[in-house]
């Protein structure tokens, strides 16, 4: 179990918590985020999602986000696993864990990570809905876009 993973296997929170918490017992706060497949999107009734990744770059981008989080909150460790392939309604597409001596840092690092995932990680949702299917297109990925990074940081600390 690594801190970063892109996998077609179902995601589980507890093993990632165990990995990131470790055995030191020095931390007072563990936060987590689980993103799941929603049954509706922009007025459409969603049937299921297929996630596609450019896996080697997705792993690098996730690692970069963890490095950024560590720069912003130096006492905080983060882990993130992203699923690929077909996901049914309610299944977890992403799990994030942040561990820190301070709850404010743990919450912020967790939120920062999901915001950055949506900005720079090369993963795509193919939404299958009642009556058709559509590729969801969000952000143009540019890891060097400082304005985007600052925006993610601002949201994380709001």
């Amino acid at each position: 179990m690594a801190a970063v993973a892109v996998t077609s296997a179902p995601l589980h929170l507890q093993p990632l918590i165990d990995e990131i918490v470790g055995s030191s017992g020095a931390d007072g706060a563990v936060t987590s985020f689980i993103g799941t497949v929603r049954n509706h999107n922009q007025g459409r009734t969603v049937s299921f999602l297929e996630y596609e990744a450019y896996e080697p770059l997705a792993v690098r981008a996730l690692q970069r986000i963890l490095d950024e989080a560590l720069q912003a909150w130096s006492d905080t460790r983060v882990g993130v696993h992203h699923r690929t392939g077909r996901l049914e309604l309610g299944e977890a597409s992403i799990v994030i864990v942040a561990v820190s001596p301070h709850r404010a840092h743990a919450f912020a690092a967790c939120r920062y990570t999901i915001e950055r995932v949506k900005q720079i990680v090369p993963i795509w949702k193919h939404e299958h809905f009642e009556g058709g299917d559509i590729w969801i297109e969000g952000a143009t990925a540019d890891p060097d876009d400082e304005a985007a990074r600052e925006n993610a940081h601002r949201i994380a600390c709001a």
Binding site: Y54, P122, W124, W135, I136, A139, A141, D144
Partner: protein, 81 residues
């Protein structure tokens, strides 16, 4: 020289394949590879304003140099999470 082109999501659907081997004349940049692709598949052209590019699984720029055997990827706007 030969490069491997990787296409994802809707770009892959439009091209009908996620992986293509392309012949380009050196010296070439990512943009050279993109232009040759769009010449054969004009439907891809709309993505030029919104896509990102990568060389050998690292984010890159249209102006970056491409060498024999490189993997050049064209990435539509992302939607993970």
């Amino acid at each position: 020289m030969r490069v491997t082109v990787r296409l994802f999501a809707r770009l892959r659907d439009l091209a009908g394949s996620g992986e293509l081997v392309r012949e380009v004349a050196p010296p070439a940049t990512v943009e050279t590879v993109w232009r040759s692709l769009v010449a054969d598949m004009p439907a891809l052209g709309d993505y030029e304003r919104t896509m990102s590019v990568a060389v050998n699984a690292d984010y890159s720029k249209m102006s970056s140099r491409v060498n024999e055997g490189d993997e050049v990827a064209f990435l539509p706007p992302v939607s993970g999470g």
